[in-house]
Amino acid sequence: MSAQSKQWIWLAVAALLLASAGVLLEGYSLRLLNLALLNVITVIGLNLAFGYCGIIHLGQAAFVGIGAYVTALATVKLGWPMAISIPVAMIAAASFALLVSLPLIRLKGHYLALATVGVNVILELIAKNWVEVTNGYNGVTGIPRLTDMMPGMAPEKAFIPIVSVAALVVVWIALRLRHSHLGRAMIAVRDDETAALTIGIDVGRVKVIAFTLSAVIGALSGTLYAHYTGFISPSDFAVSQSILFLMMLVVGGEASVIGAILGAIALTFLPELLRDLAAGYVAAGGSEKDLIARLLKDGYLVFYGLITLIVLMALPKGLAGLLQRWCGRAASP
């Protein structure tokens, strides 16, 4: 079977899984699934810059934020329809990414990483302090929701098909890119810049493209987020979020689309699973006051960190590497 038709089968299976999850899940799990799918989009974007091209990118949340803020403000304050504000928000993020990437890609390694943090911090400060435009810490409220178009359905359920379609399209685009001259060039640049130069790859240009694409895809996720929750605030797009996105990618398996998907889903659900575990422990007769309950309940982030650390140390290729080992030599896209 050709790699192309295999891809279609995988995408169809994923669509089926998502459809049934949308029907079967209820309440909070449904919300988590929506957030996980939004994170899938963001992290697949990040994978282009970090996983493929090797740009240590600790500012992806900033581009998610640009997407969210531009569409939110355009719809709330200017009354634009979402069909216009969403593409405009993505173009805004792309233009900004293009602009900052030109000086940024001249930096290497840790300096580049720090510069991306800087970009994120600056945008966060603007969102917090330019109160007349952004409403500062209070955030933007009353953002029109995409799910308003389906009035008969519960919003959480109605959003599943929207975000699923978006995620599947992004996955499809990412796979197409991976097996194009751009995908090969990005990976070549990360593996060996000098060798890439000598076989005709314009390293600077490839980095700018990777960084910008990564931002656009992040911004798409941001616009959907804004029109899903109806409310955004600066803390949604803080540096800590960027670090989380990078962690999702590394835990899932960098430089692989499957890894980005697995990591985003796993790390979105993990904290909630741990919280549930604490509730279960108490329900099973454990005292709410004893150490285990308190650790699970309040210290779940400790476990979260520990589990992440264990994955990083035991699985250098992340969850995708584990999957590959189980399935033998599966075609890892």
Partner: protein, 257 residues
Amino acid sequence: MTTVLETRKLTKTFGGLVAVNGVSLSVNAGEAFAVIGPNGAGKSTFLNLLSGLMSPTDGEIFLNDTSVTNSPAHGLRRLGMARTFQNGRLFQRLTVLENVMAGGCPGEGARLIDVVLRRGFYDRWQDALRARAETALKKLDLWAMRDAEISQLPFGVQRNVEIARALAAEANIILLDEPAAGLNSGERVALVRALKDLKSEGLAVVLIEHDMSLVMAWAERIAVLNFGEKIAEGTPAEVRANPKVIEAYLGTEAVDA
């Protein structure tokens, strides 16, 4: 005879150190050209200047009649030049086939949307690129391992993948940086055969090499560097007989070889 590559008084200094000093030479189309010299003679610097990875302090470089003295390295492929590296620099996370295809670019006309939607012309271009890579890999007996990961391959095979990658660039001149270094005798025989094949393709090859027997057996013309200067140039027989070369580098044993 057409000149493919020419340097005029090419010079590179690092602070007070003159690594390459006023080297002028020209390589003709289809020629088997070797640059030899003892360790520290400036061979690698010279090669890095030719391939655009370093810019010269002084002097000029012409590639297929175009001045490329300060051109960016990535532009040289389009002008007909490819190179390999001494320590084998393949892309570890690409397969063998992808390594050879990497660097192929559909040109300015292809937009992102064409790539994603796989518009007909993009698919045709990519098929042509794959066919070219296939030809290059088959030439070096590597087609069977096209889907292998680089880390699984023995060193000698990796070296050949690099040569295939350079071949697929459709250059008319290829620079090889010590391709025999670290090869076993079997791999060395295969390399000499591959080099002769390159020659029969009408490619100009510039070989930077330590291995004297390989150079003497293969090269049509040899330039000898010592302390950054060209001290001799000529056929293997001429170079072998040149007293300056003998003094600087060869020693009696190698002359007999």
